[in-house]
Subunit: 267 residues, 6 copies
């Protein structure tokens, strides 16, 4: 059991799930966001913090032996936003980890958009397939995975980079039938990441046991994570509610879907 688990981005959709359901992993849970954290629970500490505030981030990380880093920009944004939250913020977090009096283990919420420009007819291996980021947000996640790997090789800080698929109550498009991740499966994955005796620095996709698959996580098989849910339960509802994309639309061509057609966001 962890002494103190930090959950960043704890007011976001993924962060909220972690806050609600992963409290048992630690004696104390430090939940963090820029705002809107509500009341502190029984074993909770609230920390309000901007990720690009280096001193604040280092103070927040100090003393935590586990970190679930859900904070930062989670969709495409302007360069300034992405840079501050996902590039500056990652550096600050790992500097905090390096300087901390205890060595934390980290779950880094990367994104399947790091390989978003691969075709939906392709099959990817999390370790050997080249990245094909589909926007600035995705590029910032490639940066994050590389930074995490460097802090592992150089300083021994263990990170699981989880390329999260589409973690919503249910898939809202036909593309998400392949990328959907249930909350239960995400929670189980986090539990494994903090429970294995040795984590190393794996990269894997956070995706449920869907029928239609693009991603091969076998190199992370040692984690012992077996997703249980499948998006098939939602297929007939989805088919009833919307027409699938045409075969020449980005949402039918690329794993990253419409992110691939997004423009560069000017501030």
């Amino acid at each position: 059991m962890l002494e103190r688990l930090l959950i960043t981005g704890a007011n976001g959709s993924l962060g909220s799930i972690c806050r609600q359901r992963l409290g048992h992993l630690a004696k104390t849970v430090r939940v963090s966001a820029r705002r809107d954290l509500g009341e502190a629970g029984p074993n909770e500490e609230l920390v309000f913090c901007d990720l690009d505030d280096k001193a604040a981030v280092e103070a927040m990380v100090e003393g935590c032996d586990g970190i679930i880093h859900m904070g930062g920009k989670a969709v495409e944004g302007s360069w300034e936003t992405v840079k501050a939250a996902n590039i500056e913020g990652m550096f600050n977090l790992y500097e905090g980890a390096r300087k901390s009096s205890v060595r934390p283990r980290i779950l880094f919420a990367s994104s399947h958009h790091v390989t978003g420009f691969h075709r939906q007819t392709a099959r990817l291996n999390a370790e050997t397939s080249p990245v094909r980021p589909d926007g600035l947000y995705a590029v910032s996640k490639v940066f994050g995975e590389a930074l995490a790997r460097m802090y592992f090789d150089k300083f021994g800080i263990e990170t699981a980079s989880v390329r999260i698929g589409s973690c919503f109550p249910e898939p809202s498009s036909h593309r998400m039938m392949s990328s959907w991740l249930s909350a239960d499966d995400m929670v189980a994955l986090a539990e494994r990441i903090f429970n294995v005796p040795r984590l190393g620095c794996p990269v894997l996709y956070g995706v449920s046991d869907n029928a239609s698959t693009w991603w091969d996580n076998s190199t992370a098989g040692y984690l012992g994570w077996s997703p249980k849910d499948s998006s098939e339960q939602f297929r007939s509802k989805l088919d009833a509610e919307q027409t699938p994309p045409k075969h020449d639309e980005a949402d039918a061509i690329y794993q990253g879907g419409l992110f691939c057609t997004d423009v560069i966001h000017e501030d």
Copy 2:
């Protein structure tokens, strides 16, 4: 839902199954064979057609936005027979598709005999393992897969080349314990092929979820097809009814079994 689905070879064993169970895929089903099609069902059109009659095939294909091509010679035959039905016939079908006023999606019934000379102790990948056809029939299926791929790359016609294993009510030899494909699984595969937003041009083996496996379909994982049946249910009956082949018999050595020892059929 398709406007008009053409099923060729609709009087054969596989074609009959498709006719009986896949009618819901289209508003109109055009069933075709050289003869013996019985009565037309409620949403059916009957077409009697020789596959080597170019004009007739092109007329038959016109207006169909889906094709299940089960027609042609389905076991070893003489060169003249194989050439007319499977080589000439495939060309005619794809020319029809190219010229049609609507662009069809095609399920092409290829055969596992395209890799029949591989050993039963080998494991094959549908995309990267070299072909090892075990007879003229199998060579004609290699031709068919190549033709389909060319019409995809050049004209955008999508085809799934399904290397059908042994699609019978139950396995009739120990070799078929590995190659058996249930009718239910075949039907489900066809449904997926016509339902995915983008098909591309995959090659995969049509085989159930048998315990003993030779084939890796993971590159076609995006189709979302998960076979449900297994030949294990028939093992004790099979063992009771027949002795397995000796370890030095073709039926125990090659994935294509006795096809590998067949002669060239002279007319």
Copy 3:
């Protein structure tokens, strides 16, 4: 059904399981060990034999068309012990097989320690990953696999080299959550090995369907062996009884665990 199945090491833990549960594979079962074989069962023959006694081993093997070779040293030992039991003994067994009036099929109990120095974060393929033996015992098993392969290529004697994981009633360490093999799964594997029409000379890991996996057996998929048990049933008990190893302990780093830190045993 076999005429006569030889089980060596029949008084050991694995050998006893085979003796108790695999008698149905043969008309006669010849059980062997150096001592302590108890009473002969209805269709059993008892043979007391030292594996390094060439004449005795050859006599023991004569007439057997199936062999389950569980005999020999099963943990690290001194060079003299390992050499006599596992090197000399293997040679004697295969010479017996070569000279026998009937050609036997063999299940050779190799060990996952042949790849014990691979990291627990690695994923291994039974055919292509390099060996990394973790001691003299493990080196002797590499020798055994190579000898079996040579007798297959040169003399046609079929062997399945099963790299047995941890075959105990339940995992006794967190490392064994990945390597555990249930008795039921081992029995089922042996049945498949003696029932397939053609065995060839596969190498595979003997491991149950655990959640946390290190090993890919897909090249032996043709055997039709699907392990059914999982070590997950024991996780909470194990967690309650012991602390997992620290992340920098051999039992958390290497697949072979503490074998990797064992010294050379001097006689």
Copy 4:
């Protein structure tokens, strides 16, 4: 040394080179074409033969222990032409080989157009990269390779399928800087094919030692063929004479170049 070497297509550009420079491989050289073979050389026999005339082809093949099959259609053509020359013709040739009183070894002139739809930025392996034929001619060569393989596996007839690049005196486009094959290199390859003790049934690309390469022939390394020439000698001349294709033209995108944009030739 061969007893009798048959060279088909001996009046074509490649066939003429073979006729002029490979006569030393055999005591007698049987040169064949439909017409225009000129005078017979000292150890030559002339045979006029249509490849789709089965009886004539079988008579022509009888008694030859070596065959260089350059005959057939060597560029895109109508279906009737391609089918007669390259499909019917190949079948006739291999039937002749199967029935011949001596077992011939065959060099089959396949074409790099069997993989013509791969990108110029891709690197292909002759054994494992999927075919992507760029027209009917290319599809007929896929058929030919498959037929040759079947006659090897079933009847032991050895064939080297040489996917010939661009065998001209010099490259006539920037694309051919990668695909160029010098006459000297082709002659040396043919010599190796008929001199190795055991040929097997390799597939390889016929291409010189150009600086810019798309193809990996390492699986055929046992042949001992090391091309010596390079297209670089022609680069400055080529650059002076023509502008390279624009980056979005087929000749800059696909390995098969303009073949990829060719239509289906209607008769």
Copy 5:
């Protein structure tokens, strides 16, 4: 021939070589640095520019159809330095490229330090081996490669990411015997990058034809770049001048050498 080639970092060691020897690639060469550019040559334009000045960078890039991006921090530095020069600077450069009235082709000077934590006994493939950056500088280069790939997939801007080894007049350590890149080979590589009809977006190592090799560039074989020089010419001199590192020193273990032991530079 290019209309206008921009060389950034033109006062650095690599940039100077490019300036001196690659002027023939373009009608006009725009050389850029923060200072110290000397006199403008006959076809040169001088631009003084900070890479983190967005407007200045965009103005500098406007109108250039070729860019050699040698600018930025070329060794480990503090986060602020690396971020400004290599992260901010890359974004500014590619935004400039995207907005420019002509679409430039780009040579991006990445670094072999993106894989610096791989062992010297490992062999890497430029496309499929995972990155293992050895410091902040190396992480910034991973970012740069990802950004370039995204601008290619999304906007069609072609980049060659050249992971430059050790480009000095001669190797100054035993490690550099493997990583050395001669100026001649670098110049030849740049020429190929701007001369191929279609560049795509390759990643390759910039390394000479040294005897001791770590890197496989075969996926970029289509570029037609064959390095000619070898570090072996310097071996005896190097051996005479210095003792090789001990086998347990970072300079003997990691491909990135002493970069792997560098600390995080605090400002």
Copy 6:
């Protein structure tokens, strides 16, 4: 420069070459064999030693920081001979190395016969292709490689396992055109093995730069060994002197040639 280099088997053909040409690697060379070592050279020590004499071997190894282990049985032999010389002898040598006051680096003369049952049409990778030993001698070399690896992983003793091809003045069969290793190339390889700062524990084939190749040594590229000689210089002489093997003879089928048809040698 080494302090003391031990050369075992120094009276054999390979050992003699090493003795004559590698003396410059060390201040003192300890040459060893059972007999026939002639006069000691200026910096030589002679040691007469049976490899299966544990105490003698340990004494011989003591104080050596380099070992070239050419001793042992170098062709097929009886089990007793092979076991004493190559199994017992290897164990004794590595125990000596482990106990020695200085840690030696070792060149272990393995043999290409460890993969002798692979076809001559196959291409092997030294690290990932499965072993296929062609006799007891070859099995003993598999044992040796595994033992060396274990002593590296467990005790840090570096070994290069060199699978020596056919090291004779010239090839004496057509098979050896592929496997030939010149003395010069072997000497250069040994120099590299003792000169690289870090050796690790590579496995590679000892083979010259022959035209016809079966083996891929690229994973050992870091050694910086580039063989210079080729067996092609002997081809015309060989062709004049002997007929190549027929295509169905072992010497034309298997990489190990006639070793594959050798019997088990009974004492």
